[in-house]
């Protein structure tokens, strides 16, 4: 809709600038963060971001918690795709302690992580449509997010903040209920998703609204530390799943969708196609799900079954040691990254051999790319800035840690 090329830099004193507060709580920001905009009419002349409204000091908290108790903290980073955060953290600890998990665990993790990615992208894309005034798709796609949450519930008992899995694998194997629900999901979702695609992707109104809305060059995106769908929309095919495969991602065939000019439409389309690719991965993983144990043999970290704890001395000792955080951990530092819903989600963990991490740093993709927002929306229309904010998928939990 807007074109940034024909706008002359505004520096004249004759203009009257207005200050507009977008946020901290505003229906268009989808989270608690503030944008102080200096407006020249409908155009944004300058903007300033205030973040930290829901800062919860996760990195400090983590320095006082044993490794297994940090998983619930990671839930609350990007709460639209908590399982990716949880499993990424488990993989980091496994890397530190040198624990090898079975192929079955890897494949189970891939299924869960890709489901989480679908739910993350579904919410993001449905919300972009809502910000363009199309509420219908959102109501339909939210039902399918609920179905994905039902799947998480069948695995771990929780829906939003999942705390899914354990260090070394899963707390239980996929249940009958999960198999039934997953089969139903894989059979029915593609058709419903196609309806959402029909509603939006070739919709003239939607296209006019999003094409050329705040484009961003690949070079600037790299300089600003973009990763994930937002980077790929600019045309760079960097994906952690392909470049540094973890959890057996090298076993699966899938494409990395990329955009061309990094505008809102490209970001939307990249996410749409990633949903399809994720479905492909889930189908491959589920159809080839190997037999084997659903957890690794790491008694120092993996809680023994409850009846063992009551009847077996050794199991009781391990249970006590894990719960009290008495487990021996190697000294060292490790960085592990996974492809989160928004990009490279990294965990930098420094262990001094104590019961808790000495230092834990989360590389949060949202926090890093959101600082490019002022540059993206400069000289754009306010309404374009709103859809751009949705298409960046800034999640306040991940932004503020």
């Amino acid at each position: 809709m807007s074109s940034t090329t024909d706008i002359i830099e505004i520096d004249s004193l004759d203009n009257e600038f207005q200050t507009l507060n977008l946020g901290p709580t505003h229906p268009a920001t989808h989270g608690i963060f503030q944008n102080i905009l200096t407006m020249n009419g409908e155009r944004i002349h300058h903007s300033e971001q205030t973040v930290g409204y829901i800062h919860r000091a996760f990195e400090k908290l983590a320095e006082r918690r044993p490794y297994n108790q940090i998983t619930p903290i990671t839930d609350r980073l990007n709460y639209c795709s908590s399982p990716i955060n949880n499993l990424g953290w488990h993989m980091t600890v496994e890397k530190l302690i040198g624990c090898k998990v079975s192929k079955r665990v890897d494949y189970m993790r891939v299924i869960i992580m890709e489901l989480a990615r679908i739910s993350d992208h579904l919410v993001c894309n449905a919300v972009i449509a809502v910000d363009c005034g199309a509420l219908t798709g959102f109501t339909y796609m939210f039902q399918w997010r609920e179905k994905i949450y039902d799947l998480f519930e069948a695995v771990c008992g929780a829906r939003l903040t999942t705390n899914i899995g354990r260090i070394g694998g899963f707390e239980r194997d996929f249940s009958e209920d999960f198999h039934k629900k997953l089969k139903a999901f894989l059979a029915e979702f593609p058709e419903k998703f196609q309806e959402f695609r029909d509603l939006t992707e070739r919709n003239r109104i939607f296209m006019d609204r999003t094409i050329n809305a705040c484009p961003f060059s690949a070079e600037r995106a790299m300089n600003y530390g973009f990763t994930g769908p937002n980077l790929r929309a600019c045309g760079v095919d960097y994906d952690v799943r392909v470049m540094n495969p973890y959890s057996s991602y090298e076993d699966f065939t899938f494409d990395i969708p990329v955009g061309t000019q990094g505008d809102t439409f490209d970001r939307f389309m990249v996410r749409q196609h990633e949903i399809l690719e994720s479905l492909k991965i889930i189908n491959q993983a589920y159809n080839n799900l190997p037999e084997g144990p659903y957890h690794a043999d790491v008694p120092d970290f993996y809680l023994p079954p409850k009846d063992e704890v009551y009847n077996n001395m050794e199991a009781l000792i391990y249970h006590f040691k894990i719960v009290m955080g008495e487990t021996k951990v190697p000294v060292g530092e490790v960085y592990h990254s996974v492809e989160g819903g928004n990009g490279e989600l990294g965990y930098y963990l420094v262990s001094d051999g104590g019961r808790t991490p000495y230092r834990l740093h989360f590389r949060r993709p949202c926090f890093i790319y959101y600082q490019a927002y002022p540059e993206m929306i400069k000289n754009c229309l306010l309404s374009d800035a709103v859809v751009t904010l949705s298409s960046l998928n800034v999640i306040a939990g991940e932004l503020d840690a």
Partner: protein
């Protein structure tokens, strides 16, 4: 390229500046003096052999027991064309924690440096806008430093020593008390 080859390549330009190196879990980690950070990152970015042109991460650390090098900076760079990663560390004294900014090389460093300043009080010289980012502006201490305990400082039931284990850094309440700032 192996880590040794990367190291040799860096040594061609920075002969005496690599204070130490290590390979924890396979990732090359080197330590350099703070003054060399900008030139090293520019070298890594522009080098045809390495092309480490993406700043993955930047964060601070605090080691109260290392005299005169208490605060640490950690940079992680990644080469997408060659898939090489490395970590660069640099330590400064807590009395004068000054590190040159890398905002002019990577725009992404802006908020990451602000966050590090906010948590550890590391001063980035030349940073365009070095303000707190997560915490309130009125805060007069740097909360991620180790002398600030998370819970009640008199609580000892979670100390490593009571579990028959020595972490590298065992703190008692007396050690934790804010000695460094008062000194």
């Amino acid at each position: 390229m192996t880590n040794q080859e990367i190291l040799d390549h860096i040594r061609t330009k920075f002969t005496d500046d690599i204070l130490s190196f290590d390979e924890p879990y396979g990732m090359l980690t080197i330590e350099i003096p703070p003054a060399k950070i900008t030139s090293l990152l520019e070298f890594l970015r522009d080098s045809e052999e390495l092309k480490m042109a993406f700043l993955t991460d930047l964060c601070g650390m605090h080691f109260p027991n290392q005299t005169d090098r208490e605060l640490g900076m950690v940079y992680m760079v990644h080469s997408w064309t060659k898939n090489l990663k490395m970590r660069i560390k640099s330590f400064v004294s807590i009395k004068s924690p000054k590190v040159p900014t890398i905002c002019n090389i990577y725009a992404a460093a802006n908020w990451m440096e602000r966050e590090t300043f906010d948590f550890y009080g590391i001063l980035f010289e030349g940073h365009p806008d070095l303000r707190r980012i997560m915490n309130v502006d009125e805060m007069d201490y740097f909360p991620q430093r180790k002398q600030y305990p998370l819970e009640d400082g008199t609580r000892t039931d979670k100390e490593d020593q009571y579990f028959g284990r020595e972490g590298n850094y065992i703190q008692t309440f007396d050690q934790r008390a804010d000695k460094q700032l008062n000194a």
